[in-house]
């Protein structure tokens, strides 16, 4: 089947999509957007977090057909025309990146968290990001990045 969707502000089309494919596969393998990562494909790690109609979801659990006529925003679509999004800049400044595989999903999750709660407390942050596993950093610098972006 054909799936029509808006990705990062552009109308995109994917052809020959099999209904069993996930939005994550469509983004990665058909639309050339490998930013969202596949690390568990069952919603347990958050590495594939993207915005679907403005709400962060695990793209691995969204059936391709469910993305029809929907608006998708991935980590590749966050930077503004004049450079990095403040969340991305905060990840750089706080040293919140290690292996980087969880980073794209986390950046989207943090972007959403700060849009809903501009001044989250430490427990707010840690609970809100519980769906994004990171195996390298111990989360410390990620939490620092959230606070940095919140203050920006």
């Amino acid at each position: 089947m054909r799936v029509n969707l808006t990705v990062n502000g552009e109308a995109r089309q994917a052809d020959d999509v099999w209904p069993g494919e996930s939005l994550l596969y469509v983004l990665r393998e058909r639309l050339g957007l490998p930013g969202a990562k596949n690390a568990c494909e069952q919603g347990e790690c958050g590495s594939c977090t993207v915005y679907l109609d403005g709400t962060p979801v695990c793209a691995c659990l969204v059936a391709a057909g469910q993305a029809e006529h929907r608006d998708v925003r991935t980590v590749e679509g966050l930077p503004g025309p004049d450079g990095l999004d403040p969340v991305q800049q905060a990840f750089l400044s706080a040293g919140a990146v290690q292996c980087g595989f969880c980073t794209p999903g986390l950046v989207v999750a943090v972007h959403d968290l700060l849009a809903r709660n501009p001044t989250p407390s430490d427990p707010d942050i840690r609970e809100a990001l519980a769906g994004n596993l990171c195996r390298c950093t111990g989360y410390e610098n990620i939490v620092a990045a959230v606070k940095l972006a919140a203050g920006a």
Binding site: G35, A39, G100, P104, G138
Partner: protein, 728 residues
């Protein structure tokens, strides 16, 4: 041969300045500064390509089929239905797979025979035009297996346990000094306890994945590996290719923790599949598949016996470790090795025994040996402190050895005592004068429904170095390209090697470009064993110093047209190093709480103080220490791979069931390090920091839980099921 994967580093040499008349010296040292991570920009924007992120036109996708018996043979593989499936290009199994030349690792002899040595072994691979078609095809492959009785459970009384000649990392399996039984008999205070650690899985965020293609007889792979030199050499051997015909690129690797420390079946299968279908193949193992295919930390059973005189001096240390290996090859976790040097005692015995089961072969996992071993030893020291009514910090300090207590060789540097003292004061265990202010009594501190306690444990990890090569090239007075086949698995290797290069060249860091992650650069060692910075950095330092010398000596301090290049190899220097006991040390302090209502265990606070040689980059180092401690916390409270003895598989085989710490589990973690100068290590004076953070954390947590509740947990992880019903 391929679109180059080498991306320019972010800081370009300054543009538009007048031409320098000669190479300028650096105004300041780069090592020791918080130089920003080079590739972070690529990672936060989603542009950093991992193994299956590279755009490869015409790529097909592979999906593996795994055995469902733990021991047996593949009787027949019916591929007809799979081949009839839309999009399926081919199916590989042992009946049609190409023959591989053995390179000594039986786990890599994939699809070579009908034998099944463990459950989850790859028995077929389906290649198709899309990942979902490959998955659907894999569901249609009919594998008829003849299963035999299997033996999959490690037991302390397993009749097939034996003492190997060597354990992991080449240590002897047994060491004995004096008479442990006599020492114990003479002791006033004794501990004799058995500790168990479960099988654990690395769960690096990037699953093992490979993109492979063949081009004019050459094999090119993008592989998520910690060791692209080793992978390229292995592939050359398996496929009988000249070494220069194989190129392995691992520009970005999504974590490894040991599971990607050597080639894994995915890279071999991807190469075979690419040859079968005559086009590039991407093979990404699913999270579930990894639990059998990508290695795990063996479960251990460890008995520790300690005996001390009335003054707290140890008279005997005994540490007997039992672990498992597979029927395919011998892997022996070196769990008791740390007990050979942590504390002084006249009578000592360490032993290792192992049993070959019908299970996948265990592999290195962050601090192999030291991680499970420290849980046993450092818990036992705490038990001894309780039994003797000694302060556990003081007890450790009182048993500090002057030289390596078994080998009688000097320590290159050792600051465990200082780490303990510094940590105790920072944590509030002692006051500013060093007096202990912690109340030693267990189970007396209440905070609502919670019981609160504190614990301490020591950490250590060997400071290893392995030969590597590096290339340094000057193309202009302000432009130096340094290449070393390091793997940056998230450690910050790329960033710290650039700092090291800048200092060795004595130029501003902005003049230096660094390239890592490509076997074509030349041989270099694995990103493992906490030896990357020391090993790669030594080669980089040598190449850079020689290059600068040559520029000064032969070219009057100016980079000539056409440039200058130097390649360095550190094999001889490392071989000729004098004998020292080289280890990093540290101390970890934990405050934990246990709910009297629910048994839930939570950690409030962790502090680690480390003495690990020179710290090259405080930002990346701090993150490494905290990351290690977090994985230690995760192992203390959550991680366990449960094997079903009837089927021989890990039934907790996904991230829904194998729980790793989430952000909400992790408390305030503080890290500090001593300014340790050690001239006996390597030109940079670094010890390696990737693993020591995980060593001792579980014991510090268990000791804190004991202090909180009076309950001694000797079986990880520490969960509410072990607490509930014992608390009031």
């Amino acid at each position: 041969m391929t679109s180059t994967q080498r991306q320019p580093t972010q800081s370009q040499p300054a543009q538009g300045q007048p031409t320098q008349s000669r190479v300028q010296d650096a105004a300041q040292r780069s090592v020791g500064t918080a130089s920003p991570r080079i590739e972070a920009w690529d990672k936060v924007t989603g542009r950093a390509p991992y193994a299956v992120d590279h755009p490869v036109p015409g790529a097909a996708y592979a999906w593996v089929v795994q055995s469902t018996v733990a021991r047996g043979v593949v009787v027949d593989v019916d591929t007809s239905r799979a081949l009839a499936e839309d999009g399926v290009l081919g199916v590989l199994w042992h009946g049609n797979a190409q023959r591989l030349e053995s390179v000594g690792d039986p786990e890599l002899m994939v699809l070579q025979s009908a034998r099944i040595a463990y459950r989850g072994q790859v028995v077929a691979v389906v290649v198709a035009t899309s990942p979902e078609a490959a998955r659907a095809g894999a569901d249609l492959v009919r594998v008829r297996e003849d299963g035999m009785t299997s033996d999959t459970v490690l037991r302390i009384d397993h009749p097939a346990l034996y003492q190997p000649v060597q354990v992991n990392a080449g240590y002897p399996a047994r060491s004995a000094i004096g008479d442990v039984d006599a020492g114990l008999a003479a002791a006033a205070v004794r501990v004799d306890a058995t500790y168990r650690t479960p099988a654990e899985h690395h769960c690096a965020m990037e699953p093992h994945a490979t993109t492979a293609f063949w081009e004019r007889g050459c094999l090119v792979v993008f592989d998520g590996t910690q060791a692209s030199t080793a992978v390229s050499e292995t592939l050359a051997g398996l496929f009988e290719l000249p070494p220069q015909s194989v190129r392995v690129i691992n520009e970005h690797v999504g974590g490894g923790f040991g599971s990607k420390g050597g080639p894994k079946p995915n890279v071999v299968l991807a190469a075979m599949a690419a040859r079968l279908v005559g086009r590039p193949v991407k093979l990404a193992l699913t999270r579930q598949q990894l639990f059998a295919v990508a290695g795990y930390r063996t479960p251990t059973i460890q008995r520790v016996r300690l005996g001390a005189a009335t003054n707290g001096r140890l008279l005997a240390i005994g540490h007997d470790a039992v672990s498992q290996t597979s029927q395919l090859s011998e892997f022996v976790e070196q769990s008791a090795v740390l007990s050979r040097h942590m504390y002084a005692a006249p009578n000592r015995l360490t032993t290792h025994r192992v049993v070959a089961l019908d299970v996948p072969t265990p592999v290195w996992m962050r601090a192999p040996g030291e991680c499970p071993g420290s849980f046993a030893l450092e818990s036992a020291i705490d038990e001894l402190a309780s039994a003797g009514n000694w302060d556990p910090v003081r007890l450790r300090i009182d048993n500090e050895p002057a030289v390596h207590p078994e080998e009688q060789i000097p320590f290159s540097s050792r600051h465990l005592v200082q780490c303990l003292q510094e940590g105790a004061e920072r944590f509030g265990w002692t006051d500013a004068s060093g007096r202990v202010v912690r109340d030693p009594r267990p189970a007396v501190r209440r905070d609502g429904e919670w019981l609160v306690g504190t614990g301490v444990a020591a950490s250590t990890y060997p400071s290893l170095t392995w030969p590597s090569t590096a290339l340094a090239r000057a193309t202009a007075d302000q432009r130096f390209d340094v290449e070393v086949n390091a793997a940056d698995i998230g450690t910050g290797a790329r960033t710290v090697l650039r700092q090291i290069a800048a200092d060795a060249l004595d130029v501003p860091i902005a003049y230096v470009e660094i390239t890592v992650g490509d076997s074509a650069i030349g041989p270099a060692t694995v990103a493992g064993g906490s030896m990357g910075t020391a090993s790669w950095g030594w080669a980089v330092t040598k190449a850079c110093r020689l290059l600068r010398e040559r520029i000064e000596r032969d070219h009057g301090g100016r980079v000539p047209t056409g440039g200058v290049a130097v390649r360095a190899d550190t094999t001889l220097e490392i071989r000729d190093r004098p004998e020292f006991s080289r280890h990093a040390y540290g101390a970890q302090f934990c405050q934990a709480r246990v709910s009297t209502m629910t048994g839930e265990v939570r950690v409030d606070r962790l502090l680690g103080v480390f003495a690990a040689g020179r710290i090259v980059n405080p930002t990346t180092a701090r993150s490494q220490f905290i990351g290690g401690m977090t994985m230690g916390l995760s192992g203390a409270l959550l991680e366990r791979s449960v094997l079903d003895s009837r089927t021989g598989d890990f039934v907790t085989g996904d991230l829904a069931a194998y729980h790793v710490a989430v952000s909400a589990d992790v408390p305030r973690i503080e890290v500090a390090w001593l300014d340790e100068q050690d001239p006996h290590l390597n030109p940079m004076g670094v010890k390696g920091i990737g693993e020591i953070g995980i060593v001792g954390t579980a014991a510090a947590v268990a000791n804190a839980v004991h202090h909180a509740t009076g309950i001694r947990v000797r079986d990880l992880p520490i969960g509410l099921a072990q607490m509930i019903g014992k608390l009031h």
